[in-house]
Amino acid sequence: MKRGKACGGILLLGFFLSILACKTAPVPPEAEQAERLEEALWRAGASVYAEQGYERFKAELKIQRAKLAQEKAKFGWFRQYASLQKDFLALLQKGNDLLAQIEGVKGSKVQFYSDQMAGLSARVDRLKQMTNFFNENGPVRKNLSMAEIKLSETETLLRKEEFSSAGGTLTVAETCVREAERNVADILSRYLDKRELEKWRTWADETAAESRAKGTVAILVNKLERKLTVYHKGGVIARFDIGLGRFGLSDKLFSGDEATPEGKYRVTRKYPNSAFYKALLINYPNEEDRRTFALAKKNGRIPARAGIGGYIEIHGGGKDNLTAGCVGLENKDMDEVYKWAEVGTAVTIVGAVSIENTILAEIIKFEKNG
């Protein structure tokens, strides 16, 4: 009986002594901080942005947890946290570094995609300006519209920090922009051809020379610059802004292609009361146009049943209106041109004569970038 009481007493004494001993060695606060840091890493998406580092951190934390539990299991007198505290501090440092790394990764991703978006937006804006100039809106504008939709989606995804998806939509946006640029290049590649430019320059020079030699009026239409120049005795007496058709920058090949022909023509008839105010009919198609048309048909470049077309005029009605291949002028300008022109007046239509104009500079810039 006495022996049992003694045993009980010893156990109780040991119990209370352990209580006293525990107060002397508190658990290092770094242990709890490490647990909180693990939570913070989890929330920050460590498993996505720093998978390996996060796994290493969790593995080390597990080891430290086990060591802590081992230490806690000892009687208070024997608990030594100094070494463990050092290990937890090192772990905290690693965790904080990892967190900073994740934030850095996220920040750089946002910056990267934002920069790409800004670059693409600038390309979209530039191409849109170009389409406003050369009218040919169809495929280019459609691709640009799709690119804008994708850029809008990308913006939404970036706000949600869904970088992988944002990268995907941005790639599609870039494809659309590239396609639009290709469409533009297809339309304008002729204007970069030195032989074409030389041919047009020769036509323009011959027109001015004829005007000078014969002392007559001659008209030069520059499609790229959107200008109609009136010569008299070889000197420029007037210049007007013009409008063309939807595919005005292309050379006319057949009826309904909405392109404006290029070549050396003559006024064949004057209409004082045209559907488009006043009009000067020119002799399209000329012999050269007929040869080109026949060759294009033979080569299958145009529909088999297509006709060559005709009734190409310089007329009023406004330069902002899209023509079906004619050259449009403001009515007040048409009054002037109509007054100077006679049946037989030379009308030369060229793509461009100089490389030093805005749109060609834009194309060259595009070609260099593209």
């Binding site: 009986m1 022996r3 049992g4 009481k5 045993c7 009980g8 156990l11 109780l12 119990f15 209580i19 525990c22 107060k23 508190p26 658990v27 709890e32 647990e35 909180r36 939570e39 929330r43 389409t131 406003n132 009218n135 809106n137 169809g138 495929p139 280019v140 504008r141 459609k142 691709n143 640009l144 519209s145 799709m146 804008e148 939709i149 994708k150 809008s152 989606e153 939404t156 995804l157 998806s165 939807r246 009605g317 406004g318 902002d320 209106n321 899209l322």
Partner: protein, 198 residues
């Protein structure tokens, strides 16, 4: 013998007390795993607020575990209760998740309809837009812009078919914004020509 029994009871009592002091590690792990499972099921997308609430409560429970862990007389009862309640809430969110996904699906389908309506409205406006002096070129550009929105429209259905309702909504919003933009431009062009406000 009586003394031995007394001692045994005493030892067991201490053992029970010490056992009660043990942190609910397994319960914490189970709860975290359940939350991860919810995330995989789409709770972070379709039950955003609830999912955040669960995470916050998990943090609170972990805080409680950590607070008790520092004490000598550890009482994990509250933490266990918090974790048990959290378990119930996780089950509730899990049960409600299919309905939420269905709601997101319906919302995406509704937005798809609104986008279609916006495209159709812009098309109707373009059809009646006066193609006259100074507008033909602009109208042509707007038609091409709308063609782009029209072409992108099919992507909404693709996302719906893939059960990616958030993506479908995002796509619908972007396409609808483009269609609305075109419609506004057409209205402005019509007003410019007719002088009447639409």
């Amino acid at each position: 013998m009586k003394g031995f029994t007394k001692n045994l009871v005493l030892v067991l009592a201490i053992a029970v007390v010490l056992a009660g002091c043990k942190a609910p590690t397994q319960l914490v792990d189970t709860t975290k795993a359940a939350i991860e499972e919810l995330k995989t099921a789409g709770a972070d997308k379709y039950a955003v607020d609830e999912f955040k609430g669960l995470n916050d409560k998990l943090t609170a429970a972990l805080d409680e575990v950590a607070a008790q862990d520092k004490k000598f007389f550890k009482k994990f009862g509250t933490a266990k209760e918090m974790l048990a309640n959290l378990g119930t809430e996780i089950a509730a969110v899990k049960a409600a998740l299919p309905a939420k996904i269905e709601a997101a699906k319906n919302e995406a389908i509704k937005l798809q309809g609104e986008t279609k309506a916006a495209i159709d409205e812009a098309k109707a406006l373009l059809a009646k837009a006066p193609v006259g002096k100074g507008t033909k070129k602009d109208i042509d550009a707007m038609k091409a812009d709308l063609d782009g929105a029209d072409a992108a429209f099919a992507e909404i259905q693709t996302a719906l078919d893939a059960k990616d309702y958030i993506v479908a909504k995002d796509k619908a919003n972007s396409i609808k914004a483009k269609a609305d933009e075109v419609a506004a431009q057409v209205k402005a062009a019509i007003e410019k020509v007719t002088g009447k406000k639409l």
